[in-house]
Amino acid sequence: MEEFSALLQGFAVVLSPMNIGLMFVGIILGVLIGVLPGLGGANGVAILLPLTFSMSPTSAIVMLSCIYWGALFGGAITSILFNIPGEPWSVATTFDGYPMAQQGKAGQALTAAFTSSFVGALVAVLMITFLAPLVAKFALKFGAPEFFSVYLLTFCSFVGMGKGSPFKILASMGIGFALAAVGMDTVTGQLRLTFGQTELMRGFDFLIAVIGLFGIGEILLSMEEGLQFSGKSARINAKVVWETWKELPKYWVTSLRSSLVGIWMGITPGGATPASFMSYGLAKKFSRNGPKFGTGETEGVVAPETAAHAAGTSALLPMLALGIPGSPTAAVLLGGLLIWGLQPGPLLFVEQKDFVWGLIASMYLGNLVGLIVVLTTVPLFASILRIPFSIIAPVIVVICAIGAYTVHNAMLDIWFMLGFGVIGYVFKKLDYPLAPLVLALVLGDKAEDSFRQAMLVSQGDLGIMWANPLVGSITTLALVMLVWPLIAKALGALRQPKVPAQRPAN
């Protein structure tokens, strides 16, 4: 029970009035970000990151991770009341959440959503508490080839688990790596891909990319649709909450299944969005109420919300234990670690005990605080959505510009942000995934370093990727993931003849 005492110590670190205050501030800012169109977990945290430069790392991570929890909670509000997913991972919540709101059961739907978010997060945090130290201890023995194989697995999983064209996933990832290479080469000191422009020497900061791709891109998309918000009103009182809570234990199987789906998709970089869809699909298939899904079933809200929150939380495990983030938001938090002067990776658990366990303790407390805050303040946040878009849009552009500027105090970054915004808009419309681009931009240098080191050791022999069982199996798994779309197609072709007979025409 070494972890348990470490966790208690973590609680002791976090439970200062200052940190509790920051937790509330973080959650409220986070819900706000989750509710507003154009601001989401990743770019919200990126914009607010500069505010924490002067804080201690522990306070900073407490506030930033709470913004993340808040954004996860906030996405559900817009989905249920307005049928507009504030975040991509809450799209599946609209399927049953909005019909419930239309039937006047908005209170139940919101309570169910928030509570299952909390449950999903709790299961994931429990998993992190006990698994992360083990993974970190294990990873201490990793050398450069092992790290590169894990990077390889991360990126190949995008191809294997992503929907849509594998070529687009690869292209998006390649662009990320190419942008990461711009600037000074860390090994030889040569300038790469700068084309003589001194401004490019700094390279592209992924925070700017995140703010532009997700923030400005999202604003352009919402503008194109000419959004008119028309929402249901929500009243939550203690009675509704209590009655919904009495109903929820009935769905424990769904909750458990969704948590596990979420945890799996969060650790591997599948992410919260596919996790929520997958879990909704599974619940629909296995539940007794399955056929009624889509007409306003509480269970149809429970499944995606649990999975999304579990995935969002467990994306922090690889970030903490290996220094490899599982989602764009985790990547931004990782960027924060570097700025605060901490070296992410397995050594974090040895050298920065207070920080790591403080963060884990704040995950427990932050989600509890989040649940309380959202249950009590829903009407307030719902009213924000009634502010017309022609006020919201310029304010969000301004917030993004400030966020982009503060990263390096560079004017040019505001232009880059607008450029990334246009790229984000076009890529979203054409179904290019953005997460691989961001992760490649963050991890590009490190992946390249570990690759070069591995190649140095082996004098250019790729055989080092299979030099021992551990690195060999990770590499092989990664390659299987890479060609998975082809395998899936082949399997599908084999099964093809049976399918029409089993499935009635729908």
Binding site: F53, S165, R192, L193, M223, G226
Partner: protein, 173 residues
């Protein structure tokens, strides 16, 4: 993907998905080609002390080029071809309504600094595009920026860009 209610009656489609797909893929291919050429120049081979500076980018460039070609093929093949509308004139207009002012705003930030430019931007956006009364727009725009000012300069002590002309110099921050 031919929904008669969507095309024709409302506003003309400016571009189809498959066309834009090919154009974007071509740009991506160019980018990949630039990376490959530049990586070759830097030294994509093996130097005396290990892989050269261009070693890794070279392969990244190759991956980009190959996937761009793949996207082009997929966009042309009848099976995966997507003839849906990418954007129609009205949508494009709305997008430019945000994008063009945002670009002008970025120029204004350079000269006037973040606070003044932001206040002007929000106020003008509300008056011109949102058709709000002038007084309401100005009050809101100034209010938002006062909040930002207090939050960044005073509370979190993060100085923001005051512009080449520095019109807020008199405040002493």
């Amino acid at each position: 993907m031919s929904d008669p209610s969507e095309s024709g009656t409302e506003s003309p489609t400016l571009a189809r998905n498959c066309t834009v797909d090919v154009v974007v893929a071509a740009i991506v291919f160019l980018l990949g080609a630039v990376v490959v050429v530049e990586a070759r120049r830097l030294g994509a081979g093996w130097t005396s002390d290990g892989p050269g500076a261009g070693y890794f980018p070279f392969y990244i460039g190759l991956v980009i080029c190959i996937s761009a070609l793949g996207i082009m093929v997929q966009a042309r093949l009848p099976k995966s071809r997507d003839d849906g509308p990418f954007v129609d004139r009205e949508q494009m207009g709305r997008v430019l309504q945000v994008l063009v002012p945002a670009a002008i705003y970025a120029l204004a930030v350079w000269g006037l600094g973040l606070y003044i430019a932001s206040a002007l931007y929000i106020a003008l956006f509300m008056i011109v595009l949102g058709k709000y009364p002038v007084v309401k727009s100005v009050v809101l725009a100034v209010g938002v920026n006062v909040v930002f000012f207090l939050m960044f300069e005073v509370w979190f002590k993060v100085p923001l860009y005051k512009g080449a002309l520095d019109p807020l110099h008199f405040l002493g921050y």
